[in-house]
């Protein structure tokens, strides 16, 4: 905690959890989709579902999907801006006792027509936790440079990727591996202290069984 956690952040109101945090969840979905999606469906849970109109949570998530930051004064006009930008959107209220009360599940169709899913929870003060990417349950908060690396669960993949990072002097703050089942779909989530560059991403994507590497820049 520092002074700017107390006097700050600079944000568009009315609620750090229902507005600022929601923008951040939208922005991460945009990054995972590799840019502005063509169409999105957003399921809202708990308090997000109950109060999204009054808190502008819908506008905030769409603003994030359009690439805005939590202090962007255009957030309140984001639904209209999305229509102008050709992004269609749909909101649905959902129930699930298992998820945090301020949770949004974003399903998006990217420019190439591929479907991606990002689920995130706003956990207070504008801070978030991403808990699902596509079909895999994950956990990260966007505080670091975060690499999402979907791959097939095979021996040596983690070693190959972390060696590439080590060669570039990139320090790993946290590394987690999630898999659907042994030898199945898996996801590495690597949080690093330094930025990972474009050429390093290409090298990681060349590792056997790695499907893709997505870099999410720190969101705070």
């Amino acid at each position: 905690m520092n002074v700017f956690d107390i006097i700050g952040p600079i944000m568009v109101g009315p609620s750090s959890s229902h507005t600022a945090g929601a923008v951040r969840i939208g922005k991460i979905a945009r990054t995972v989709a590799g840019g502005q999606p063509v169409a999105v469906t957003i399921e809202l849970y708990g308090s997000f579902a109950q109060t999204y109109k009054g808190h502008g949570t819908d506008k905030a998530i769409i603003a994030g999907l359009l690439g805005m930051a939590p202090d962007d004064e255009r957030i309140k006009d984001s639904l209209e801006l999305a229509r102008q930008a050709g992004m269609t959107f749909k909101f649905r209220k959902s129930h699930n006792k298992e998820v945090h009360p301020n949770t949004a599940l974003i399903s998006a169709v990217d420019q190439a027509g591929k479907k991606i899913i990002v689920q995130g929870s706003s956990v207070g003060g504008g801070r978030i936790v991403v808990n699902r990417i596509n079909e895999i349950n994950v956990k990260f908060n966007g505080e670091y440079y975060t690499l999402l690396i979907p791959h097939t669960d095979t021996p040596g993949v983690i070693a190959a990727v972390t060696n590439l990072l080590a060669d570039q002097g990139i320090n790993i703050a946290e590394l987690n591996m999630y898999r659907s089942h042994r030898g199945g779909e898996a996801m590495m989530v690597i949080e690093t202290d330094q930025a990972v560059k474009g050429e390093q991403i290409s090298l990681i994507e060349a590792v056997k069984t790695v499907k893709k590497a997505v870099l999410i820049e720190p969101i705070y």
Partner: protein, 291 residues
């Protein structure tokens, strides 16, 4: 390095070094965040500017929030002050107008600085910006006073809470008022110990205040509680500057706030299930909005 475990620790260290609390906090944060004091000062100046913009915007706004529950009251208050109809003196009336203004800008999805939260964002700027205007204070001094507010706020956040969902409104508007009172005392030439007493007195006045937002929105009663929070800060600062002391030391008051927050039922902690949110009018509003 400062631990931010106690406000008295801040006061004692400031006294020992012959510094203001703000100077001590800025020095410490520069070390902890590995940035220069100048960089942090400029970041805080940018926050003060956003606060001033929000106040100016809200004072003349006529628009309503998406729910229609808030907007336009700051404008009424300002017009009343401009017409010379201040009941309790210009400083207080101007402060109330700004607190309403910033809280309304927040409700209408305008840009604000959470201080310490979005729901309580009007209190600290209303007090400090009014004192600046009424006393022709240099901007740099007001920027510094925000470091005092933040330093004390860090202790409150660490030892109790600044979240309505965890501690009720006492933790949001109460903490903001306590931070504002301490900053106001420093701004007006009081000692670090006086700031601590002001912080304690402001917090004591709202112990037990629940968070009961109508329809779960940061509007009713939040906007007007920003006005009362700002008034509370001025009252506490005025008493502290007169040499009045809090019998219960500030850190014990914070401990009491924590205990009260823990004992508070969940229905009164931002869930919109109890208090004002559970009144017939509030329930009707909620039904209309959710439809």
């Amino acid at each position: 390095m400062i631990s931010y475990d106690s406000i008295q620790e801040l006061v004692d260290k400031a006294k020992k070094k012959g510094k203001l609390i703000s100077e001590l906090v800025l020095e410490d944060q520069a070390l902890q965040m590995e940035q220069s004091q100048e960089e942090l000062f400029e970041l805080m100046r940018a926050s003060l500017q956003v606060m001033a913009e929000a106040a100016a915007k809200g004072l003349t706004a006529v628009s309503k929030s998406a729910s229609g529950l808030s907007g336009g009251d700051a404008n009424k208050m300002r017009q009343s002050v401009d017409a010379g109809r201040s009941l309790s003196g210009k400083v207080l009336s101007e402060t109330l107008a700004k607190a309403l203004a910033i809280a309304e800008v927040n409700a209408c999805m305008g840009r604000i600085v959470a201080a310490p939260t979005a729901g309580s964002c009007g209190i600290i700027p209303a007090v400090l910006l009014t004192l600046k205007e009424e006393n022709n204070l240099a901007e740099d001094r007001v920027v510094m006073s925000l470091f005092t507010a933040a330093g004390l706020g860090m202790v409150i956040a660490k030892k109790a809470s600044i979240s309505g969902a965890e501690g009720g409104c006492q933790a949001e508007c109460g903490s903001a008022a306590a931070m504002a009172a301490a900053a106001a005392v420093e701004l007006m030439g009081g000692t670090p110990q006086m700031s601590a007493h002001a912080c304690a007195m402001a917090l004591k006045s709202v112990l037990g205040l629940v968070c009961d937002p109508v329809a779960g929105l940061v509007e009713v009663p939040c906007v007007k509680r920003n006005a009362s929070g700002a008034a509370n800060a001025l009252i506490a600062a005025e008493m502290a500057l007169a040499g009045i002391e809090s019998t219960i030391p500030v850190d014990e008051v914070i401990g009491a706030m924590k205990a009260i927050g823990d004992a508070m039922p969940k229905s009164l902690k931002e869930t919109a299930e109890g208090g004002l949110a559970d009144t017939p009018t509030a329930k009707k509003i909620a039904r209309d909005i959710l439809r």
